[in-house]
Amino acid sequence: MWFLPVLIRNLLKGPSTEAFPFGEAMTPKKMRARIAFDPESCALCRVCARICPAGAIQFEKRPDGLEFNLWHNSCVFCGLCTLYCESEGLHATGDWHLSHPQSEKYDLVEKATVKFQKCSKCGKQKMPAPLPLMAKLYPGLSADEIERLRAMCPQCRKAETAPQDGGTQ
């Protein structure tokens, strides 16, 4: 007799098989799958390429900057790059639809060129200073101040933010 409640419950619950591939599949909210790269928030520190255990991330020299390459066929979704990216340029998305025919094997690459910039003060070529990183470095400053410092090279920024005439900032 004790099987009756279980039987009724199972009948009410409906099938336990997921509808996929004939319907939508459930994806957990925090699932780590395809890694997305935002070239706007890359400081070109290249920690991600150093930390990647599978060697999936590589930087290549280009005349006006560095090209970021992430091969999804090598990425193991460990999430170390998203953890170590201080400028929040790398994010894990929930997109797990990565299966592909062999002809597309080498097309499955996240690719973007991060360009060098010119210092607004001395005009020298410099690495980009993305907004999330600068907001962490100068927490007390206003948005306009941070925008002004972002456009400078590290030397000019140091001179700008150092206390002048022995006083405090």
């Binding site: 336990s16 098989t17 997921e18 996929f20 591939p21 599949a25 799958a33 255990p53 599978a54 060697g55 091969w71 999804h72 066929n73 090598s74 990425c75 193991v76 979704f77 460990c78 797990w96 639809h97 990565l98 299966s99 592909h100 025919p101 062999q102 094997k105 499955l108």
Partner: protein, 147 residues
């Protein structure tokens, strides 16, 4: 077998390809996910008409996991030869596709496609069961075009 209607056998078998797993030195993560797609009712790969078989001679779709270690390479190639043509090869996980974290190791013979013609790649470490089912669905489409 079917002299009058040779397409009958093809028509029947195109609906029920049999899957065969080869572990080419895998860490067992992808193999667990492959077993999950077949055994657990939540994923149930048999809805697509396929089922796992124990003998390479019955296989239609081959699922290969692992980075193809040097020790297992000859055995995998011998096993692959035993599978009758036409067959569809699916590389499951990043290891057979690129080597994954084992790439450039002294114990690794390959990416798999240096030795075996691969048709479908399912990257992931391991790929989730739904991703494997998606890849198998693509492999079944190739299988139906080949038979």
């Amino acid at each position: 077998m079917n002299a009058q209607n040779p397409s009958l056998l093809s028509r029947l078998s195109s609906k029920s390809p049999w899957l065969y797993r080869i572990n080419a030195g895998s860490c067992n993560g992808c193999d667990v996910e492959l077993a999950t797609t077949a055994i657990i009712p939540r994923y149930d790969v048999e809805r697509l008409g396929c089922q796992y078989c124990g003998s390479p001679k019955h296989a239609d779709i081959v699922l290969i996991t692992g980075p193809l270690t040097i020790r297992v390479k000859d055995k995998v190639l011998r096993l692959y030869e035993e599978i009758p043509d036409p067959k569809v090869t699916v590389a499951v996980g990043v290891c057979p596709i690129s080597g994954g974290v084992f790439r450039d190791s002294y114990a690794i013979a390959g990416p798999l496609d240096n030795f075996i013609p691969v048709d479908i790649n399912i990257p992931g470490c391991p790929p989730r069961p739904q991703a494997i089912i998606e890849g198998i669905a693509k492999a079944i489409a190739i299988w139906q075009s080949r038979i």
